[in-house]
C-alpha cells in the first residue's frame, strides 16, 4: 500500500482524492452547445444568402461577424463566462470563443485606460491564436508551394 506521505510520489498518489471528471456528460454538453452555435451559424448564413446578395463563397464573412457581435455582447452582459463553464469546449472552440477571449480581456483592463488598458490587452489571450494561425499557415503554405514547384 502506498503512503500518501511519500513526497516523491505525492502528485501521483493524490489523484485518488480528485473529483472524478464525468467525460460523457462533459462531452455531451460540449456537443450540444457547440452544435447549437454552429446550427445558429447555419441559420444566419441561410438568412444572408436569402436576403442579401452574398454568395456561397462570401457569405461566411457576415455570418462570422454576426456571431462575433453576439458573443461580444454576451460577454459584455456577463453571460458568456457562465455558458463557458457549463459548455466547456462547446463554447470555446467556435469563433464565438475567440471573440469572447478578445472582449473579456479588453473589458477586464478597462480600468487601466483606453490605450494602456483596453487596446494593449485586447489580444492578451487571442494573440496566441493569431500567432499560431499565421505561423502554421506560412509553414504549410511554403511546404505546399515548394512541392508544387518541384512537381512542376
Amino acid at each position: 500500500m502506498e503512503s500518501i506521505n511519500d513526497q516523491k510520489n505525492y502528485k501521483k498518489n493524490i489523484k485518488a482524492y480528485h473529483p472524478k471528471t464525468n467525460y460523457f456528460i462533459n462531452c455531451l454538453k460540449a456537443f450540444l452547445v457547440g452544435g447549437f452555435i454552429c446550427f445558429l451559424g447555419q441559420c444566419i448564413e441561410s438568412f444572408y444568402l436569402a436576403v442579401t446578395n452574398f454568395n456561397e463563397k462570401t457569405v461566411g464573412n457576415p455570418t462570422v461577424a454576426t456571431l462575433i457581435l453576439i458573443s461580444s455582447l454576451l460577454t459584455g452582459f456577463g453571460v458568456y463566462d457562465k455558458i463557458g463553464q457549463f459548455a466547456g469546449a462547446g463554447s470555446l472552440i467556435p469563433v464565438t470563443g475567440f471573440a469572447n477571449s478578445i472582449t473579456s480581456a479588453a473589458l477586464e483592463h478597462k480600468s487601466e485606460g483606453i490605450v494602456l488598458g483596453i487596446a494593449t490587452n485586447l489580444f492578451k489571450l487571442a494573440g496566441a491564436v493569431i500567432v499560431f494561425g499565421v505561423v502554421s499557415a506560412a509553414v504549410f503554405g511554403i511546404i505546399r508551394l515548394t512541392i508544387n514547384n518541384l512537381l512542376g
Partner: protein, 116 residues
C-alpha cells in the same frame, strides 16, 4: 439536412476539444491553438474544404476554420506571386472575422463594465 449536419459536425469538433481538455489536461489556450494548427494542416491536403461542403457552418464556425482560411488566403495569392504571396494573402479571407472581433471587442469594452 444542412442544418442537422452543421449541428452534428460542429458538435463533434467541440467534443474533440472537450476530450483534449479533460483527458490530456490541456489549458483552453493550448486547445484553441492546436485546433487552429490542425485546421491549417487539414487544408494543406484540401480536406477542410470537403468538410465545409458537407457540414457548412458546422465546419466554418469552429476555430479550426480560422487556420484553414489563413492558409487558403495565403495559397490563393501564392498561385500568382509565389512565396511572397503567402505574406500578401494570409489575412485576406479572415479579415472580416478579425476586424469585427477587434471592433466589437473594443466597443463592448467601452460601453460595458465587467460583471465578475
Amino acid at each position: 439536412m444542412e442544418f442537422l449536419w452543421a449541428f452534428v459536425i460542429g458538435g463533434l469538433i467541440c467534443v474533440v476539444g472537450q476530450l483534449l481538455l479533460d483527458l490530456f489536461k490541456l489549458t483552453p489556450a493550448h486547445v484553441i491553438v492546436s485546433f487552429v494548427v490542425i485546421g491549417a494542416f487539414l487544408d494543406s491536403f484540401g480536406l477542410y474544404d470537403k468538410l465545409i461542403e458537407f457540414a457548412g457552418a458546422g465546419a466554418t464556425i469552429p476555430i479550426t476554420s480560422f487556420g484553414h482560411s489563413l492558409l487558403h488566403g495565403a495559397m490563393a495569392e501564392a498561385d500568382q506571386h509565389g512565396y511572397i504571396g503567402i505574406a500578401i494573402g494570409t489575412f485576406s479571407l479572415t479579415s472580416a472575422g478579425i476586424t469585427s472581433a477587434i471592433l466589437f471587442g473594443f466597443l463592448v469594452a467601452l460601453i460595458f463594465k465587467p460583471k465578475g
